[in-house]
């Protein structure tokens, strides 16, 4: 869809059309299920009155066609990678290969029960085993767990492993250091792990301020969480010194893999000195992000920390020539997921890995960084780069130059929509004023980047000549600038039967 495709006339007050509840008419149905059809007692006999539902849930009653049209129409009011460029910084919105969807639907994967005996699931375990070995090779780690369902759960898992490591040494530590440019999940995960997050500032280069870090380091510090390249798209050049300083203080180094796409095959977190690494397979390994999930956040560690991984851990047993889940893990921090993590996503990541091979993986990083630097060069005149120089897979521009025209980064973002693009991430990282964080990814073509740059530059020019056009934007979408303050003040978080008057 182009951004205009969602706009329709004649739908009344709600551009999205009625909710599924407002489409409901008593007596319609999409469902098709068997009768119990056997000699068993009725439900009244089986479920005592005190357990039986008195009032049925207020679910809608619609025909299957109405159901299909409703959600098809909603899907058409959604931007997606398959629709157009999606240059959201730190999100690696790249093409998601279609073949992975066919593979995930194979009954030999889709039908597997997570409690089945290992012998019944050797194919699935082979996928996890080979993918796990490859991810350890890519990160320079010894072993991993697939349990974390997303990056933030990987972070908590890693922090709990760090905690177990320190405790095993009789070492009670209290703080974890995170850069001021870090993703919000980092400090939130630190709190959840029972520690206090402490910020280390960025220096004038946009990198961790090494002397500030050294001042913070003491024997209360459990470790440092770092994204490298960082959220400014800059590689932390001092990483060896940072690692040495943290280790010197008895801390551990945590690698947030959100930006791993830019360094695959070029440099490995383990070689930089990191002890714990999470990857976001829904970013680097091209699995569909699903409107906000599912992801997969496998967590890899050094040999020294391996014993603390969540149980069970996948193991190859040589004499039998088979994969098995090893539950005999006395030092494990325990389980972090109901089952083995988001297997279906890991499977898609395996498909991606096998599609590319070692050469292809290296091309990913090269072309992601090439695309980012190309786009940066084309727009930095209009949107200066916060920290000039060669960037990695993303860069952070600032729109503060447009402030005299009364134009903010959000206005730029909204106007880009009218040019047929999804905007970049805005107002992040927090250390850059009026930030526009741009990550084109390696799967966009030069022509698309040229068009995207032209759109950025046109919007900047328009900011000077017709700022009102930016304030009005977007004008090509089904809705325009939804009132977020009203949404938070007058909470309306679910449909209730009283809403029928809206139809």
């Amino acid at each position: 869809m182009h951004a205009t495709a969602g706009a329709r006339a004649g739908d009344g007050p709600s551009p999205g059309g009625p909710t599924i509840f407002e489409r409901s008419r008593p007596g319609r149905r999409a469902w098709s299920l068997p009768d119990a059809g056997l000699a068993a007692p009725g439900i009244e006999e089986l479920i005592p009155a005190e357990h039986r539902r008195a009032e049925p849930p207020a679910l809608p009653e619609v025909s299957e066609l109405e159901l299909v049209r409703h959600y098809t129409r909603l899907s058409q009011e959604n931007w997606a990678i398959d629709v157009g460029a999606y240059p959201l910084g730190s999100c690696s919105m790249k093409y998601n290969p279609k073949v992975a969807e066919d593979v995930a639907a194979l009954p030999g994967f889709a039908g597997l029960h997570p409690l089945a005996d290992d012998d019944l699931v050797q194919g699935a375990l082979e996928v996890l085993g080979v993918l796990g070995e490859a991810l350890c090779e890519l990160t320079g780690m010894a072993r991993l767990t697939f349990q974390p369902a997303a990056g933030a759960q990987g972070e908590l898992t890693g922090l709990l492993i760090m905690r177990a490591y320190h405790l095993a040494r009789g070492d009670v530590r209290k703080r974890v250091i995170v850069p001021d440019s870090a993703h919000g999940t980092n400090p939130a995960s630190v709190t959840l792990a029972g520690w206090k997050a402490q910020e280390v500032p960025s220096d004038t280069r946009g990198l961790v301020d090494l002397s500030a870090l050294e001042e913070l380091l003491d024997d209360d510090v459990a470790g440092l969480m770092l994204t490298n390249p960082n959220t400014l798209g800059l590689f932390e050049r001092d990483i060896k010194r940072i690692a040495a300083a943290v280790h010197e203080a008895g801390g551990l180094l945590y690698y947030d893999g959100a930006n791993f796409n830019s360094i695959v095959g070029k440099v490995r977190p383990g070689d930089m000195g990191f002890d714990v690494v999470h990857m976001n397979l829904h970013k680097t390994f091209a699995t569909p992000h699903g409107g906000g999930g599912p992801g997969s956040g496998p967590l890899a560690v050094t040999e020294e920390l391996e014993r603390y991984l969540p149980a069970p851990v996948l193991a190859w047993s040589e004499p039998a020539g088979r994969w098995r889940w090893d539950n005999d893990r006395p030092h494990s921090i325990g389980r972090i997921h109901s089952w083995h993590g988001n297997f279906g996503i890991d499977l898609r990541a395996y498909v991606y890995l096998r599609s590319l091979g070692p050469e292809g993986l290296k091309r990913v990083a090269e072309r992601a960084v090439l695309n980012a630097n190309y786009l940066k060069t084309l727009i930095e005149g209009a949107f200066p780069i916060a920290y000039p120089g060669t960037c990695m897979h993303e860069f952070v521009s600032t729109a503060k130059g447009l402030k005299p025209h009364g134009v903010r980064a959000m206005d730029v973002a909204k106007r880009l929509i009218d040019h047929g693009f999804h905007p970049p991430t805005v107002y992040f990282p927090l250390v850059v004023e009026e930030a526009l964080m741009v990550e084109p990814t390696e799967t966009e073509s030069r022509e698309t980047l040229d068009e995207l740059a032209a759109a950025f530059n046109a919007v900047a020019a328009e900011a000077a000549t017709d700022p009102a056009a930016l304030h009005r934007a977007p004008t090509s979408t089904p809705v325009r600038r939804p009132d977020e303050a009203k949404a938070a003040r007058h909470l309306k978080l679910r449909w209730t039967p009283d809403d029928s008057s809206n139809t």
């Binding site: 059809g37 539902r53 849930p57 039908g111 090779e137 109901s338 679910r494």
Partner: protein, 448 residues
């Protein structure tokens, strides 16, 4: 394969625009000493046909619900996923979209999530639901964390009949927070929690499952009363597929209802991705973890949906957020919404009736097997526990040889229930399946 579009001319031309000589120059900021100076040691690339052959071969080395007749349960069940659910949830406009931060380009996901939240509230008798969590275990953890924040207490009582994996995850997650988690044992005859066995004074929450791990029906009203009497919140992990026939937790006094929605969203898929359901009462709305879609109006007065109450979340509140969750399970939430709308109130009731009645039929038939007996008395939904003369896990393994996916054996979690086999009966299991399963168990026992 290669998914990037760059021709050699593109690369040369782009480097020229940037002002660099070659691709390696792009990486000059990486210090020499740490760069990887060798080829990656990972498996070689495959073309698409080779890839499909390779993975079909791996899939053929696994045997799941497609090939074996599935009576396996313990938190994951062989339910029918309607074709409409699969077709709609796999639409690329949903599947390949990102978190709906730009509302104008995300009305489809935002409205779908709003509908999902409404449906979850309705199922559970609650007033506010979030846009999903990772899985059932994670939803229990977040419910406990909300309870701890709201009550400023650090003690939590959880029923032994809550899924053992959920209890493990709760213990793991809260290790750093120093919570005191006490487990209320189950009555050995009834297979439901005996809350009188634990002191719930000073607890932030009482946590129970409905139905529980054995398929039994806990006294939710009694537990909620006990919780409230002690100033604690009542947290109920309820199976959404049961909500057409079983009373909603919210109606029975629960303050927070959570659940594993995977059964409505997807095939078993070796345990994920599934979807954690989370719903509570209005007073706790500002303590809810994760994303919430809310209704508002746009600049022209039209109805619109946005992510709301974001000040609770990690990207705004950072270290003080209600949770660290960012990426959730949105696509599965959309699938769940589609499935619930496909079912409607009558379909959901039918689903529950068929599961309960066929389970009852299985209970009658399996209970007749010589040497076997039903382990727990009392009403049950979708699952039963069969006590056999042999190890339950070993029996399950042997039944695979007869074409059945069974288990788990409960010795995996309770040594005293080593001879017990958990049996799940969904709407997909017919009378013939049940009779054949009983016969297979009889034959297996005769041979042992």
């Amino acid at each position: 394969m290669d998914f990037s579009p760059h021709t050699p001319e593109d690369i040369a031309g782009m480097l020229e625009v940037i002002g660099l000589g070659n691709l390696e120059d792009l990486f000059e900021s990486i210090p020499e000493g740490v760069r990887l100076d060798r080829e990656l040691d990972v498996p070689g690339a495959l073309s698409e046909p080779e890839l499909v052959d390779h993975l079909s071969g791996l899939a053929a080395r696994s045997r799941g619900a497609g090939e074996l007749v599935c009576f396996a349960g313990g938190g994951v069940y062989d339910h029918h996923i309607p074709s409409a659910v699969k077709a709609l949830a796999s639409r690329a406009e949903f599947a390949t979209s990102y978190t709906p931060y730009q509302a104008e380009l995300s009305q489809g996901i935002l409205q779908s999530l709003y509908e999902f939240q409404s449906l979850v509230c309705s199922l559970y008798g609650m007033e506010v639901a979030n846009a999903s969590l990772y899985d059932g275990a994670n939803a229990v953890v977040e419910a406990v964390n909300l309870s701890v924040r709201s009550t400023q207490r650090e003690r939590v009582a959880i029923g032994a009949t809550v899924h053992p994996h959920y209890r493990d995850v709760l213990k793991t997650y809260t290790a750093g927070l120093g919570l005191d988690i006490i487990t209320a044992p189950f009555d050995p005859a009834a297979g439901i929690v005996d809350w009188d066995e634990v002191d719930v004074e000073g607890c932030a929450a009482l946590v129970l499952a409905y139905p529980n791990i054995f398929g039994g029906l806990e006294d939710v009203r009694g537990a909620a009363e006990k919780a409230h009497g002690a100033g604690a919140l009542a947290v109920v992990a309820a199976d959404p597929t049961a909500m057409g026939v079983l009373e909603a937790p919210g109606v029975m006094g629960a303050d927070i209802a959570v659940g594993e929605g995977g059964a409505l969203a997807t095939s078993p898929a070796y345990g994920g991705p599934y979807v954690g359901l989370f719903a509570t009462k209005s007073p706790f709305v500002r303590q809810v973890p994760g994303r919430i879609s809310g209704e508002t109006t746009d600049a022209d007065g039209r109805r619109a949906f946005v992510l709301t109450l974001q000040a609770r979340e990690q990207h705004i509140r950072r270290a003080k957020a209600t949770s660290n969750v960012c990426t959730n399970q949105t696509l599965l939430a959309v699938a769940t919404a589609v499935h619930l709308a496909w079912l409607g109130p009558h379909g959901l009731r039918r689903l529950g009736e068929v599961c309960a009645r066929r389970t009852a039929f299985a209970a009658l038939r399996l209970g007749e097997i010589p040497g076997c007996a039903l382990r727990f008395e009392g009403p049950r939904f979708k699952e039963l526990v069969l006590e056999t003369p042999v190890d339950g896990g070993e029996l399950a393994t042997r039944l695979a040889g007869r074409g059945f996916l069974a288990g788990p054996g409960l010795g995996r979690w309770w040594p005293e229930l080593a001879n017990c086999l958990l049996v799940a009966v969904t709407e997909r299991r017919t009378e013939d399946h049940i009779l054949a399963f009983a016969e297979a168990i009889e034959k297996e026992l005769a041979e042992l």
